[in-house]
């Protein structure tokens, strides 16, 4: 049965969303269409042949037509790059019926080049995000943060190869974000990383540079880290302290807590159930408007088990950055 007879609404209804992976779009969508018998094995074969021909062309371009064979590892990387570009082209189309029609009627090589155009736009956007992240940077001596902003991200962007290795990002981006993406690849990974870094910077910049520097210094001293060296997410350190400052309704610009304040928080929250405590902290986080509220909430949800344990075991003063 051909998909062409199915209207958009019915097609959307039938497709199992969980089976479609946007980081493996063509493959997962084709699998889903096959499962639902919305396309035939013959139509899937046409797609396979299209990919096979495109891979052959790309291998020729890769070797400048000087080698008919390649190491399997290299050929595999080119195939993944081909699929990545095609995925990018298809993700530009919002109507699922058009997507299905496109993969059945458009030559794969044309989709590969369309994807490349989309990737180049994403590269420009990513370069803009890098400029923004640098402009809003924190003035701290953390080498991982500074090296990533000044060197690694630019190198990754410069060396990004949308022809043959578009699914890969080379180089080491050492600075850890509060939430690491395990699903994004290629330029989407780089763009996603920078979007999150900008959000984290925006949150941190709600606070005075001097207060951030004071917090960072206490954090390093307490953990015996040289000021340049801790490989930690700066936003998370700020966010956790800001959260409990907000809970205590302290001056909105302050970050550092005292040990006594940590003890008070433990007394206030200690007897609550985990659920009530979690809800109260979520409510507190929702009052913090810096950065992106939904990102803040995601980070809180990730940190919550650690916070709960610290409160229950009277270790909040160690979990947060607190001075005597």
């Amino acid at each position: 049965m051909s998909q062409q007879s199915l209207p958009e609404s019915l097609l959307r209804q039938k497709l199992e969303k969980a089976n479609i992976k946007y980081n493996d779009y063509l493959r997962s969508l084709t699998g889903e269409l096959l499962r639902l018998e919305l396309i035939s094995e013959e139509q899937a074969e046409i797609i396979r042949v299209g990919l096979f021909d495109s891979l052959e062309k790309l291998m020729r371009i890769y070797t400048n037509d000087r080698s008919s064979s390649l190491m399997t590892e290299t050929a595999n990387s080119i195939l993944r790059s081909l699929l990545y570009n095609i995925d990018c082209a298809m993700m530009d189309i919002s109507n699922i019926e058009t997507v299905v029609d496109t993969i059945l009627t458009t030559p794969m090589m044309e989709l590969y080049y369309r994807g490349m155009v989309r990737i180049r736009r994403l590269k420009c956007e990513t370069a803009g995000l890098l400029a923004k992240a640098k402009r809003t940077r924190l003035r701290l001596p953390n080498v991982f943060y500074n090296q990533t902003l000044d060197v690694s991200l630019m190198q990754a962007l410069k060396s990004y190869d949308e022809h043959f290795h578009s699914h890969l990002i080379s180089g080491d981006i050492d600075y850890p974000l509060a939430i690491q993406s395990n699903t994004l690849r290629g330029i989407h990974y780089l763009r996603g990383y920078l979007m999150d870094l900008c959000v984290e910077n925006a949150f941190c910049r709600e606070y005075e540079g001097e207060e951030i520097a004071r917090l960072y210094k206490i954090f390093c001293d307490k953990n015996h880290f040289p000021y340049s060296e801790p490989r930690v997410n700066l936003y998370t350190i700020l966010f956790n302290n800001a959260l409990f400052n907000e809970y205590l309704r302290k001056d909105p610009g302050s970050l550092v807590l005292t040990v006594d304040e940590c003890d008070i928080i433990e007394v206030l929250l200690g007897d609550m159930s985990r659920e009530d405590r979690g809800n109260l902290l979520r409510l507190t986080a929702s009052r913090m408007m810096g950065g992106d509220p939904s990102y803040n909430m995601r980070v809180l949800n990730k940190s919550l088990p650690g916070i709960q344990n610290a409160i229950e075991h009277h270790r909040l003063k160690n979990y947060l950055v607190a001075e005597l």
Binding site: R27, I47, F52, S67, S68, S69, L70, L79
Partner: protein, 164 residues
Amino acid sequence: MKNNRGLFNIGTVLAMNRSNDEEYSRQLLALNDTIDQYGIVLTAEQTRDLLSTRQRALNENHRVEMGVGAVIPLAKKFAGSAYLDAGNFADGMNIILEMFYYYKTETRDVIPDDDLIDMLYEWFEYKYQGDLELMQNDYFDKAGKNAAEENAEEYDELIAEQDS
């Protein structure tokens, strides 16, 4: 849900390439129009043997080749050898094919097909005077691995000199 991984992976591509062997065999037979001037004619069975050797050599050397690949230019070149004739051409080509793909991988792909074919031909024709066994012993055993790498380095240096 059915696993989609097999839909479009490199294994599928390799399988598709192998499924074209009949077409590749026809292309090799068509080569007879060119090499019969040397008194050499490949039979259908010999072309199948060559394709089977090619596939084994590709697998052993972790390579992927689209289309019939290097077999045709190799056969055209070696058909002109003074040491190969209708009686030993097919057997010789099987060994040369193995050497070719071995060298491609061991030299990390820096030597283009045409240059490598010329190099192998010169060794076979002038250095080893048609002695494939000796050539294999020198360049195709464990020690040959080093020789192949040295050749790649020499080739890199040569190209760098030419570029400068």
